[in-house]
Symmetry: C2
Subunit: 410 residues, 2 copies
């Protein structure tokens, strides 16, 4: 968690963390700046609280962090612009030198953030070249940065935010189910009161309205509401023009962000009107995998063990999985879970192969088994977000029933 | 425009453009991939169409670009993962080598995108180190990259998208005005039908609902609806808890993105019920600056000339400006305009000092003069987005009246 950063910096021999400026949503900046919404720099020297450097217009927003805020002008930006009129690179080095002097930065400097690649690579190669006598810029392997490690365990404030976004997201999912149920069928098509088909586009508009009501946003509008064959392609988002049909599987995967910056992630699979025995059997197998996973997770367990258990459970029922059929596009085609917080995907991951993670108290992660058969036209996934609490028990943060069939009552 | 890229690559001696993978919204990727919504790589070798490399789950989305799509697996990702089990860096180099071999990439490679800084800097320093015999990674000065230059002039498809988002955004602004007008006042406070104050939070919720109805999103919820003193701080977004008051200036700056990825940007300043002669006079001065700017813009003109004209116009009326009072926080405190497209801020800029730009046919930019007096509790800004068309005429894409005073009719 955030309070581990100084210890992690000592262990990894990193003297300072620098978050580059940029207008993009940046979980690193949000994390260090306590969620303050600004586009400037954050610097954390080992043993000291983070400091923020903001442009003049964003000082007030940056100050909401409760941290010390400087302006770019405090380090003479305009003066340097005049001095280095036709030498932007010289200006950059001079400005960073002033900043690094002010905070006594030397030694190993870890660089983070979400930024323009051309800008970041240009700035960093320049600093590495011109300031190499005092600093060494360091990077860490993907998924194993100091932030990845800190993100894995949430502190009390973060858990409160994650509970809030869980509650609101669950309400949107439940309300959407009830709203769909309020419709009626004409033949095998779900229709609105005026008799026109209810489409996936209609549902997505309803969902966006509900997200708004609940203070949530869906960055990039990536909500998945996919029916039939699309439900069997895990990242298909569904075709807006398609009408809802009775008896088809619908995979509804909702992963919005609250104003706090924290995400929730949950999935339900529904069949409207009725489900075939074949689909019901698949659904029951996925629910069994979900329940076994919840029962199995405990501190100290390698995450891979849970992924392998699920693969074996599915394979025992005759489904191919990524354990023994790598690259399969039928059966169980992904990993069981991922952590989430200020990122919708973060450590701990639950890979079949590759780098390993261990379940710890303070983890918040999804559990999302699924079975997919594109050629048979159906897919099923169930996903909750859970919290491994300080007592070592799994708390399910998502609050939504698991019933497969939606009975229409319109 | 996009069709200039090969010429620009020749002029700048860049042999290939590489957009790094990443889950963030990435205008570079959207631009080269014709708006396809995926998180993979894009490679453009000079003289050839861009090619896309996507993960298996995003192949279908990537294919909507109409371009050739490869999967990571086409370059042996799983095989390399086994071969370089404990050597992620070795795997990275081996994978990029296969990709660069396939497309015959050598020479100067420009690197772009929006990505995780730690990941991007690690990957790029690794490639520069290990593949230095065949490629040289190059960067360009901020605001002067090959993309910045291409973005400056829009092609027919882009203009169509920009007209669409202009029409929808303007409708939201007009509807919001009408909705506010439908309320009544109790003393100097605007109230709802139940008598409770109408707050900025209420207005923002209404606006978000309208954006949704019009297929627009407000990434990061950055809409500005700021009243009184806040209206005089250009980037204050307004306080949700504040009730709307008669006679105060309200600056409403709306810059949403359509599903196409293109932005619109517009601002209106309103006073509810009445405006003091002092505010009306300030308003008239800003409108004069706006009209003079529209009249002045023409192909071949340095953008700075328009900014300086506005500064002089304001200074003639007694207002301090950034021309002769750099760093002022009263009067005219910013630059007149910026280009927009897949980025809400892009070239051409209209700076007072620093790098210069020339107005060209195909430009789409804002015109947004303003006057700000925090200590007097008011600020005024008027902003439209305009298109410098092929005939060299300014077309105003925004479609919304400029009236200052909103008469309540509720």
């Amino acid at each position: 968690m955030k309070s581990d950063l100084d210890r992690l910096m000592t262990e990894r021999e990193i003297d300072a963390l620098v978050i580059l400026p940029g207008e993009n949503e940046d979980p690193y900046r949000a994390y260090l700046a306590n969620g303050a919404d600004f586009s400037g720099m954050v610097i954390k020297v080992r043993g000291s609280a983070p400091v923020l450097i903001a442009n003049g217009m964003e000082i007030d927003e940056a100050a909401k962090s409760g941290l010390t805020v400087y302006s770019y002008e405090d380090f003479g930006l305009s003066e340097l612009a005049r001095e280095y009129k036709n030498d932007a690179d010289g200006r950059t080095v001079a400005w960073y030198t002033r900043v690094f002097d002010k905070f006594g930065i030397q030694g190993k400097v870890g660089v983070y953030g979400v930024a323009d690649v051309n800008f970041a690579y240009r700035t960093l190669t320049l600093l590495a070249d011109k300031m190499g006598d005092r600093i060494k810029l360091v990077t860490e392997p993907a998924r194993n940065t100091i932030f990845d490690t800190a993100y894995q365990t949430k502190d009390t404030d973060e858990i409160a935010h994650l509970r809030d976004v869980a509650r609101e997201t669950s309400a949107v999912m439940r309300d959407t189910r009830a709203w769909i149920a309020s419709h009626r069928a004409d033949g095998d098509t779900v229709v609105q009161s005026n008799g026109s088909p209810l489409t996936i586009g209609d549902v997505k508009r309803y969902v966006r309205g509900q997200l708004l009501e609940h203070g949530l946003e869906d960055p990039g509008s990536h909500t998945i509401f996919a029916q039939g064959r699309d439900a069997a392609v895990p990242h298909s988002r569904g075709e807006s023009s398609q009408a809802l049909k009775l008896g088809q599987t619908i995979v509804f995967d909702l992963f919005p962000r609250a104003e706090s910056g924290y995400f929730h992630d949950m999935t339900r699979t529904w069949c409207i009107g009725h489900a075939s025995p074949e689909i019901q059997a698949i659904y029951d197998t996925v629910m069994a995998a979900y329940r076994e996973s919840v029962a199995m997770c405990k501190p100290g367990l390698p995450t891979r063990d849970v992924q392998v258990m699920v693969c074996e459970l599915f394979e025992d029922s005759g489904h191919p999985t990524v354990l023994n059929t790598p690259g399969t596009s039928e059966g169980y085609v992904h990993s069981l879970a991922h952590g989430l917080g200020l990122n919708v995907h973060e450590t701990p991951y639950f890979p079949t192969y590759g780098e390993q993670y261990t379940i710890q108290p303070g983890n918040v992660f999804t559990i999302e088994p699924g079975l997919y058969y594109p050629d048979r036209g159906y897919g099923v996934r169930i996903e909750d977000t859970v919290y491994m609490n300080d007592q070592g028990a799994v708390e399910i943060l998502t609050d939504c029933p698991y019933d497969l069939v939606i009975e229409l009552n319109g």
